[in-house]
Amino acid sequence: MSVGALTKKILQAALFYEIWDAMKVTFRHMFHRPITFQYPREQRAIPDTHRGALGLLRYDDGRERCVGCDLCEAACPSHCIKVISEEDKERPLQRYASEFYIDVTKCVFCGYCVEACPVNALAMTKMYEYSTHDKRTLLFDKKRLYDIGERHLDDAKKYLYAHNQEQNVEASREYRYYFPQSVQKSTQPPPKHLS
């Protein structure tokens, strides 16, 4: 080892060079904007296309959009949806889902169900905070899904717009099904957008 190199080594040892060298990164970050996000005190802005919890939507007049067609169940790759449909007792000849379950523990958030829905009754929201101590509460039933849809209605609509599934409120009316009336009842005129 040459004298120069030895001197440098001793000097570095006396001045704790390695420590200062290592602390360089630390000091540089002291003057940097913090990268760590203070979740949950801080919330991140989420893009409209985000695939969060699923919710069921209603039309503006409060009617359920879902017609119980079961296409979401057919499209679901992880078999987490179960739809039980029947004829609406109050409005004969109309089909609706009497029960609707999504097992979120199985859901892979692929969004296929939303794509499959012919009436845009399903949408994904920006809601992702629903961790729980009891796994059983993660089987969302119809009421819970409509609650989610109601609470996150704006997000759900934004999701549908962002995925190019629904343009605006007026256009969404066209998805509504026209169910024929019974011959036993007086005939109603066909809806405006279809005539």
């Binding site: 017609v67 067609c69 169940e73 449909s85 004829e87 169910f179």
Partner: protein, 897 residues
């Protein structure tokens, strides 16, 4: 084949040659071009075609190019001709077919997601296959939905006017309840006359509808095809043994579908003689009892006079202890058993094995005793076979069908379709002899109305007319001259004029019927409830066999004397030996060799032949205290038999009454223990239908509640009683039956049986026949002018169907006596008037209703209902030879109250 079969038993069609896609194909002359193409294995799409009826040609999909023609031709309506050069593939044809799909889609609502046919829709498939994505001129119809019928909804927005529903109804079922009607600018399918649909509700229109235009009200909007599990099984309503698909979702039955469907539209029309694949109203819409709310879900044990739910283990201990105590105290003869013929063969076999080898009693009987055994005994006695000699194919291809005492369209609707096909396709002459205006009589070439209760006399007359006109087959009678002389002597006293006065059938008619029957090359006799369930049923079947013998129809192919069974497995009950006189395989119970064989197989001695008791004996012995314990599976003697038999008192005498049933029946309410059993949809096994075909019953769903299959309960009962039975499933029992009765499981292809009358004709016949044609009955006294008949209606079967809410919606218990309108007028009665109905057995008050199917001088009440208890007016006559009780007809008087 869509067109009527060119070849029938009498005519062989010529063979022609034509070229399809460059290949030379041979075909029968006169068949449709479409059939020729499909028989080569090429499938051309066709939405209005179904092989069971003639081509209609409305959908415009089955286009092919024929050389020499500019435009494509519809292959279904074109007849194949010699030398045709046909092209079935090519872009031009694809485009032409695509145009046809677009035409249909342009007026079809795109409501697939809410349509019940979604995923099972031919239009959907066609649009997919032809890549239809854009419709330039779509238009909506806005037709209101026809929901007037209790069973089917017609959504004519979805109709593509293929007319499959109309054609199947008119051509195959000959009911003709639907029609096209121009309404609101569109051609729509409406019930005849545009009123609420009121037909037999077989639902075959629903099955063949390729779109969702006709929907089933009982399962509307409840399903999508991909959600359901489909199980092929056998119907358990009547003896036809139709195959059906039970479609289930978890633990509920959603719907029942038939093999007949637009999905299997390719077939050979000649094959429909073995059944067209359809089912009837009971099979298709009577499924709701399976998961109904009235099902028993837990064992019930009587405690302090009340039936209380108890655990299986406790219940079985109790049952075993009680049976053991009765056996020890009173001996094996104090235990008896009754089982319904709605159980599977395996269960019936196990039941008689349990009774005979474990309990050691031969007091065992099944519901075949109510009538079918009359036929079995007569047929065994005379010709040595214990079942019907003919199958559906023989019925279809018969040239003459003699239907006597059978309302076949009501009791066995699918066998009726075979007779209808005989009329329509094979041009058979059908003679109906019944005391009611039956639906078959409306289609028959020779319908005759006879006076109630005179079926036996009519047969006398037919035999006499055959002899009088010398229609006798010389070859048949030559072999047994002595027997023939005896028959002639026996009939000598019969006078046709006298019979004509008694039966209401003209002398000329007797002669005409006898001529039709004797002269046809293939003649079938079908006798059912009007013969076998009435007094003298045994003798009347023997007389029919006489008629077949002297006309030379006995043993000739396609001829024979047949019966119909009301319950699915009556034939199986007899074959499995659930009768005191039979061991399995219809071996006689007192046959030493058979006894030894079964005793060895079961490793237990058989009870002595003297301890036998059939249903009537069992009830008598219950009454006089000889029988102390009764094990009843699925039977309900209290609700079936008239009150004059004192069934209630007999059952109350018992120290132990165990009832095993899916429902809490009237008999069950009296029981000490009620065990919940499964219905046919929850267990495996086999049924033997009226043709002798052994058909599989497959488990479609898990048992409801804690109910168990009957064989399971019987096995644990036997093991509790000290037997060592190791059956793990119905298959194990099947394996044992296979060993004991080789060849019984015939995979739906029963061995042809040939009647062997020689033994009987040369030995016992002459001595017996004299008593058979007795002098005509004494005149009845005039106080009771009307005949009261109890019988089956189409929508119901036994008491079980009354648990099916769908069938009750279609045909509720009106609680009214059905009468001919003319009789009502002469008696001064209006619809609903209360009358006092009196017989020698008692009287009751009941409303009346007019019914077109009831003949003058008769009144009718369905046997399925006991509210009001009309059955209690019946007298019971027990056949001395067969022990069959008959209690379906009596004489009554009616007074207005």
């Amino acid at each position: 084949m869509g067109l009527k079969p060119a070849t029938n038993p009498d005519v062989e069609a010529a063979t022609i040659e034509l070229s399809i896609d460059g290949k030379t194909v041979t075909a029968k002359d006169g068949v449709s071009l479409y059939d020729v193409i499909s028989s080569t294995g090429k499938i051309i799409p066709a939405m209005c075609y179904h092989y069971t009826f003639d081509p209609f040609g409305s959908c415009g999909m089955c286009l092919v190019m024929q050389e020499g023609k500019k435009a494509p031709v519809r292959s279904c309506t074109a007849k194949a001709a010699a030398g045709m050069i046909i092209r079935t593939e090519g872009d031009d044809l694809f485009q032409a077919r695509k145009k046809a799909v677009e035409k249909h889609l342009s007026v079809h609502p795109l409501d697939c997601p809410v349509c019940d046919a979604d995923g099972h829709c031919e239009l959907q498939d066609m649009a997919f296959h032809h890549g239809v994505t854009n419709l330039p001129n779509a238009k909506q119809k806005f037709i209101p939905e026809d929901t007037r019928s209790p069973v089917l909804d017609f959504n004519m927005n979805r109709c593509i006017a293929c007319a499959e529903c109309i054609n199947v109804c008119k051509d195959v079922l000959m009911i003709d309840a639907l029609q096209f009607m121009k309404k609101g600018g569109f051609n729509q399918v409406v019930p005849k006359g545009d009123v609420a649909l009121d037909c037999e509700f077989c639902g075959d229109c629903l099955a063949v509808c390729p779109v969702g235009a006709i929907t089933n009200k009982f399962s509307k909007y409840l399903y999508k095809p991909w959600q359901m599990k489909k199980t092929t099984t056998t119907c358990n309503y009547c003896g036809d043994g139709c195959q059906l698909y039970v479609e289930t979702k978890d633990t509920e039955v959603v719907r029942v579908t038939s093999p007949l469907s637009w999905k299997n539209k390719w077939g050979d029309r000649a094959e429909t003689s073995k059944g067209h694949g359809g089912i009837c109203v009971r099979g298709r819409f009577g499924f709701e009892y399976i998961d109904g709310r009235t099902r028993l879900t837990q064992p019930l044990v009587r405690k302090d006079g009340q039936l209380a739910a108890t655990s299986w283990l406790e219940t079985m201990h109790h049952v075993v202890d009680r049976f053991a105590a009765v056996k020890q105290q009173y001996g094996a003869g104090a235990i008896a058993g009754l089982i319904t013929a709605r159980c599977t063969n395996e269960e019936l076999y196990l039941f008689q094995k349990l009774m005979r080898s474990v309990f050691g009693s031969n007091a065992v009987d099944s519901s075949a005793r109510y009538g079918h055994l009359n036929f079995v005994h007569a047929s065994r006695h005379a010709v040595g076979i214990g079942r019907t000699p003919n199958d559906w194919e023989d019925f279809t291809k018969a040239k003459a069908v003699l239907l006597i005492g059978s309302n076949i369209t009501e009791t066995n609707p699918l066998t009726a379709v075979r007779v209808k096909e005989a009329i329509r396709v094979y041009k058979a002459q059908v003679v109906t002899l019944d005391s009611a205006v039956t639906n078959m009589a409306k289609l028959a070439s020779h319908p005759f109305l006879i006076k109630p209760g005179t079926e036996g006399l009519v047969i006398d007359g037919l035999v006499k007319a055959t002899l009088a006109q010398d229609l006798v087959d010389e070859e048949a009678v030559k072999k047994h001259p002595k027997a023939f002389e005896a028959l002639k002597a026996a009939v000598a006293g019969v006078s046709l004029e006298q019979l004509a006065a008694q039966t209401g059938l003209a002398v000329g008619s007797f002669k005409e019927i006898a001529a039709i029957f004797a002269e046809a090359p293939r003649s079938i006799i079908l006798c059912a409830e009007g013969i076998v369930r009435r007094a003298d049923g045994y003798q009347n079947v023997l007389k029919l066999i006489d008629l077949a013998w002297i006309t030379g129809k006995l043993g000739k192919p396609g001829c024979g004397v047949n019966t119909l069974t009301e319950e699915p497995n009556e034939q199986g009950a007899v074959d499995m030996g659930v009768a005191p006189e039979f061991l399995p395989g219809q071996a006689r119970f007192d046959d030493a060799a058979a006894r030894e064989r079964f005793a060895k197989a079961w490793d237990a001695p058989l009870p002595a032949a003297g301890t036998s008791a059939h249903l009537m004996d069992i009830l008598t012995r219950c009454r006089n205290g000889q029988i102390k314990a009764l094990y009843v599976i699925g039977e309900n003697p209290l609700a079936t038999l008239p009150v004059s038999l004192n069934v209630k008192a007999a059952l109350e005498q018992l120290e132990l009454l165990v009832v095993q049933d899916p429902f809490l029946t009237d008999t069950g309410r009296l029981a000490h223990v009620v065990l919940p059993a499964c219905t046919y949809a929850e267990k495996d096994g086999t049924f033997t239908n009226l043709e002798g075909r052994v058909l599989r019953v497959r488990q479609a769903m898990d048992p409801i509640g804690e109910s168990l299959p009957d064989w399971h309960i019987m096995t644990s009962l036997a093991n509790g009683m000290g037997a060592n039975w190791e059956y793990q499933s119905a298959n194990d029992i099947q394996a044992e039956i296979m060993k004991l009765l080789p060849g019984y499981y015939n995979l739906g292809q029963p061995r042809k049986v040939t009647p062997a009358p020689d033994q009987y004709l040369s030995n016992g016949y002459s001595a017996e026949v004299g008593a058979r044609y007795r002098a005509a009955q004494a005149n009845r006294d005039g106080r009771r002018p009307l005949a009261l008949v109890m019988g089956q209606v189409l929508m119901h079967s036994g008491k079980m169907s009354t648990e099916a809410s769908g069938l009750i919606t279609i045909a509720p218990n009106t609680g009214k006596l059905r009468m001919n309108a003319k009789d009502m007028e002469t008696l001064g009665l209006q619809e609903g008037t209360k009358v006092r109905l009196s017989s020698d057995q008692g009287s009751l008050e009941i409303g009346v209703q007019a019914d077109l199917s009831v003949a003058p001088g008769a009144c009718f009440f369905p046997e399925h209902f006991n509210e009001p208890p009309v059955k209690d007016l019946m007298a019971v006559a027990v056949d001395t030879t067969t022990g069959v009780p008959s209690f379906k007809q009596t004489w009554v008087s009616i007074e207005k109250v």
